[in-house]
């Protein structure tokens, strides 16, 4: 009877597991295999591909940029969205409208975002036009170090609304009675936030952090459509590199790079989960 119960759960996830196996696990197994072989001939080369990518300037640059992007964007996005969510939660009159306003960027198609980027940041674009009127020097934005910060801004602008909605959902789940009881005990706004809101939002934090992390990979679409295969050094991400390797048929390097990236992502998610478990 106990054994039966043990396998019931397995049967429930079986259909989904089959799909994940066919479309993710088995192909990823093949990627791991390919990371130890030559691209076309399939000859076993051991760790040579890993050696190659760790000596590859493009991989190191892309890895560094991607980590830098994630390291800056995720904390800023989570903090900013939480701040705005708490603010909106208190805005009884205009809260709904403001929430919708923050969600609008999500509804803007990528093509329009890219067009907007080009209109704004082209050497002859609006930003340079404005600078010229103010007698300031124009810059080739997408070919300068500013390109990275434009990418960061684009990511924050696009994902802020989504994270706000997730935070608001978390905030709504905190019963008002806890706040009322704390206030009766003399707690101020800051104390309520740190002692009630934050601890109660921790379960949401994990989900929001993972979703924001995964969404950060999607920013490649804008970067690729605006600057193509070879953007400015500062915004050259791992996705650029993988896309170019695929074009050049460097499947060996791509497989090794994918395995390394997966391991790093896996470790980061585990660390997040560990932090979350410890807080609980």
């Amino acid at each position: 009877m106990k054994n039966k119960a043990k396998f019931t759960g397995f049967f429930f996830i079986l259909p989904s597991l089959m799909g994940v196996s066919v479309f993710v696990l088995i192909p990823f197994g093949d990627v791991i295999r390919r990371s130890f072989t030559e691209a076309v001939s399939g000859i076993w080369v051991g760790f040579a591909n890993y050696q190659t990518i760790f000596n590859n300037a493009a991989f190191l640059l892309a890895g560094k940029n991607t980590l830098r992007f994630v390291g800056i964007c995720i904390p800023v996005l989570i903090g900013l969205s939480l701040f705005i969510a708490v603010f909106l939660q208190k805005q009884l009159k205009y809260g709904g409208i403001l929430k919708t306003v923050y969600l609008v960027p999500m509804a803007v198609p990528i093509a329009s975002v890219v067009l907007m980027w080009k209109v704004l940041f082209d050497p002859n674009g609006l930003v340079n036009g404005l600078l010229a009127k103010l007698d300031l020097t124009a810059t080739g934005w997408m070919n300068s170090k500013y390109a990275f910060w434009i990418l960061v801004f684009s990511y924050l602008w696009k994902n802020l609304g989504y994270d706000i909605v997730l935070w608001v959902a978390g905030l709504s789940a905190i019963p008002d009675t806890i706040y009322e009881a704390a206030r009766v005990d003399g707690a101020g706004e800051w104390a309520c936030f740190t002692k009630i809101t934050l601890p109660n939002l921790l379960p949401s934090l994990y989900t929001i952090a993972v979703l924001s992390f995964l969404n950060s990979f999607k920013v490649f679409r804008e970067a690729y459509l605006v600057a193509g295969d070879y953007p400015n050094d500062s915004m050259y991400l791992l996705q650029h590199l993988f896309s170019n390797w695929f074009r050049e048929l460097s499947l060996d390097k791509m497989a090794a790079g994918a395995v390394v990236t997966s391991i790093i992502i896996f470790i980061m998610i585990l660390l997040l989960q560990r932090a979350w478990d410890m807080e609980k």
Partner: protein, 794 residues
């Protein structure tokens, strides 16, 4: 029991899920087996070329006579320079001359016959004329005759009021005066022997062939009838927009045939014109229409093959697949088609040199409908030369079906990088092409990864029969193995006065010489033939790019900086103050020269013409055909002092590999692929003028330098400027010595240009911005270094 029912239901659901998954996966296999069964279907039309009577090189009309046995042909005998009529009683296999044309239109040298038509009764009609220069009008007269009773003139008069009114519209509302007359330009007979004609305004007419009176008019408001064919009692008219059907007796338009329109009209260009119009406009191949054997049935023939359609019916049936024979050859033009009593088709075509051929298509029930062997050839961009080569290969190897796939069709938003990723996916999945046309592909990367087979044996075998330009042949040689081979090549060259050419020893000297030329000729707006920065950079790129790549594989910043600095100085010798007219040099001059001079923007032809007309003083370009040498020697003769040489750059003696080919190492059709590559290198394929570079095969080079003009004569070309001025130029063919000198010099070129598209695109993009003043040389170099080094580091 209840629990048991649930279990059964769960099992059933799980089973159905599995079944769906399994059958879903199996779908493709089923498709494959279907394909195999299709492949084993038997029966196909095979092509056979029938010999023409000796001397006949130019077929004007072909008609099956009503007796059912006789085929009649009107053609020109180039040996006697006379037009005549030939009959065949064996469906075109052999011909017997029946008569010559009437005296006044017999000689090819004296009179120009615009259109010839033969009726099923055997009567012949012709429209002929000559340019009357003093009036700038084309006077056209008409004549008809039969072999027994002699000829008579036909006084056909096309309506003039209509011509004037239409011209009036073009002239901005005012009726134009002294304009050319509207005339009947083409003639044709119906199956009943009634004469049809169409005029220069796009209307068709039923004409009394006794009096010349116009009996019926077939007209479509706002459309131009480009081609017509009577099918039974109906007239099929192809316009630039659609297909219109008329009742021959009443002249009334009939119900639209949607299927026919879909066939001709499905693909439209940016201006909404149909594929038919596009092809007519292009002047290469068109469409032939022919009456079918059954009532209301018709055949049409284009580059896709021969089709049968029943007017008003819902299907079009492909009878002959054009991709399996000469019909798919882009260099042939269609002249006439007849369906014969033995169910064969006889098609008269002319090849790229204007020589007519008679192609017979005979149904063979024992031949597989599609050859069992399929050879996949892939190119990123459409390549007419490869299409020509495929048609030749297909003719020689009817048991192999060559499937030519183009990555960038222009019909969608696919970029070159997208197409390459798709190609790579297919190749890694074992479904890739057998032969790769490597232009635009990462050739070095493919060689490094072992994706290209060693071609040494194939090339060695070919080398035993013919001699190749060695350096070009070895462009992609690594450790004695050749993995890819350019089938054609070009050479960056310069042309100008002798002193400037001789003194231009490197890029710096070239810039200095051009500046000197500018100082000596301050009134000349243009010194060189390019006013656009992009165009100049494209031409300079090849002769300089090899110098930028360092031994460690990275770009040399210093060399790149020198290149852009000097390129800017060269760009600045032209006056760019009035950039609104920036397209003047490239677009306002139209050139019409017999012999098909190559005037592509990167070629030498256009610049040579401009030197001849003294619009510019110096010409830069990529020389890639003998006719360009012809342009150069013609210009030299015109201005009295001229010379040419290889483009001096940071590198010397550079050639540009073109149409490079390789075999996919994962191909299962290696033998056929090698046969195809051998074919590409053969003299017969290499000699066809593809307009995409000199042949690598020296025997083919020797053949293509043959004078296309008659011995001792010169050809006249006209250059017309935007202002309407016409300048006449004498176009001469170089001497054998001049060609041999060119050949010897081509043989010395030993440095392949860097053809990597990523480096080229990046340098040209950033360089263009720099030359146009959008950024400094330092910034451009910095941007190029950053992007290209990133690319090279990958």
């Amino acid at each position: 029991m209840k629990l048991g029912g649930k279990k059964i239901l769960s099992c059933l659901l799980a089973a159905s899920l599995l079944a769906t998954a399994v059958t879903g996966c199996a779908g493709e296999d089923k498709g494959d087996s279907d394909k195999k069964s299709d492949k084993s279907a038997m029966g196909r039309y095979l092509e056979e070329e029938y010999p023409l009577p000796p001397g006949v090189m130019d077929i004007a009309a072909l008609q099956k006579l009503e007796d059912g046995n006789t085929l009649r042909m009107a053609a020109t005998n180039q040996e006697t320079k006379e037009r005549g009529i030939w009959d065949s009683l064996d469906n075109g296999r052999t011909w017997e001359m029946k008569s010559v044309f009437p005296e006044n239109i017999r000689s090819v040298d004296k009179v120009n016959v615009l259109s010839t038509a033969i009726s099923p009764k055997g009567q012949v009609s012709a429209a002929y004329g000559s340019v009357q220069e003093e009036e700038s009008q084309l006077g056209i007269e008409y004549i008809n005759w039969n072999l027994e009773t002699g000829e008579k003139l036909l006084p056909i008069k096309a309506p003039q009021e209509q011509m004037l009114s239409v011209l009036g519209i073009y002239a901005g509302g005012e009726k134009a005066k002294n304009t050319m007359q509207n005339q009947i330009m083409t003639l044709q007979y119906t199956s009943n022997g009634e004469l049809l004609g169409s005029d220069s305004m796009g209307s068709a007419y039923l004409i009394d062939d006794n009096s010349g009176e116009l009996l019926k008019t077939f007209q479509i408001e706002g459309s131009f009838i480009q081609q017509f064919q009577a099918v039974g009692n109906k007239l099929i008219a192809l316009t630039e927009k659609d297909v219109q059907i008329f009742d021959l007796q009443s002249g009334d338009p009939l119900e639209r045939d949607d299927i026919l329109n879909e066939q001709f009209n499905g693909k439209k260009d940016a201006e909404g014109n149909s594929e038919v119009a596009v092809r007519f406009g292009g002047g290469t191949t068109g469409v032939l229409l022919s009456t079918g054997s059954e009532e209301n049935s018709m055949y049409f023939c284009n580059d896709k093959g021969i089709y049968r359609h029943l007017l008003g019916g819902t299907v079009v049936e492909q009878m002959v697949n054009g991709s399996l024979n000469s019909l798919g050859n882009p260099s042939i033009a269609l002249i006439s088609m007849q369906s014969l009593n033995n169910n064969d088709f006889l098609v008269a075509v002319s090849d790229e040199e204007g020589v007519s051929k008679l192609l017979n298509y005979h149904y063979s029930k024992d031949t597989p409908s599609v050859p069992d062997l399929e050879l996949k050839v892939y190119a990123l961009n459409n390549n007419q030369g490869i299409r020509q080569a495929i048609a030749l290969f297909q003719k020689e190897n009817p048991d192999i079906f060559v499937n030519f796939e183009v990555g960038l069709t222009g019909d969608d938003a696919v970029t070159a990088a997208d197409a390459l990723r798709t190609l790579n996916t297919n190749m890694m999945a074992g479904k890739g092409p057998d032969v790769l046309i490597l232009d635009g592909m990462p050739i070095e990367s493919y060689i490094d990864k072992g994706l290209l087979s060693d071609l040494t044996n194939v090339i060695d075998a070919s080398s035993k029969e013919v001699k190749f330009f060695e350096h070009v042949k070895n462009s992609y040689e690594i450790d004695g193995k050749i993995f890819a081979i350019p089938t054609r090549f070009g050479a960056p060259a310069i042309q100008g006065d002798e002193e400037t050419v001789a003194s231009s020893t490197d890029l710096k000297a070239l810039a200095e010489q051009l500046e000197k030329l500018k100082a000596a000729n301050p009134d000349n707006k243009y010194i060189i033939n390019d006013e656009e920065a992009k165009s100049i950079l494209k031409k300079l790129y090849y002769a300089n790019s090899p110098a930028w790549i360092q031994k460690n594989g990275t770009l040399s910043e210093e060399a790149l900086k020198e290149f852009l600095t000097l390129a800017k100085r060269i760009y600045d010798v032209n006056d760019h103050t009035n950039d609104d007219n920036a397209e003047n040099l490239t677009s306002s001059f139209t050139v019409s020269v017999k012999g098909g001079s190559s005037i592509g923007l990167e070629g030498m032809g256009n610049g040579s013409m401009q030197i001849m007309t003294e619009n510019i003083l110096f010409n830069l370009g990529i020389m890639n055909s003998p006719s360009e040498l012809s342009d150069i020697v013609s210009a030299k003769k015109a201005i009295g002092n001229g010379s040419y040489g290889w483009m001096p750059g940071q590198s010397q003696k550079v050639f540009v590999p073109m149409t490079s080919v390789g075999i996919n190492s994962k191909s299962k059709q290696t033998e056929s692929a090698e046969k195809f590559i051998s074919g590409l290198l053969s003299t017969e394929t290499q000699k066809s003028s593809q307009g995409s570079g000199f042949p690598i095969n020296q025997a083919a080079f020797q053949e293509i330098i043959a004078n296309p003009f008659e011995e001792g004569s010169v050809s006249l070309g006209f250059i017309s400027s935007e202002e309407g001025d016409q300048k006449q130029m004498e176009y001469i063919w170089p001497t054998e010595e001049e060609f041999q000198q060119l050949k010897a010099e081509l043989d010395t070129l030993d440095t392949p240009a860097v053809t990597d598209e990523i480096i080229k695109d990046c340098v040209i993009e950033q360089g263009t911005n720099c030359l146009n003043g959008g950024q400094s040389v330092d910034d451009a170099v910095k941007n190029i270094m950053q992007k290209v080094n990133l690319y090279l580091a990958e």
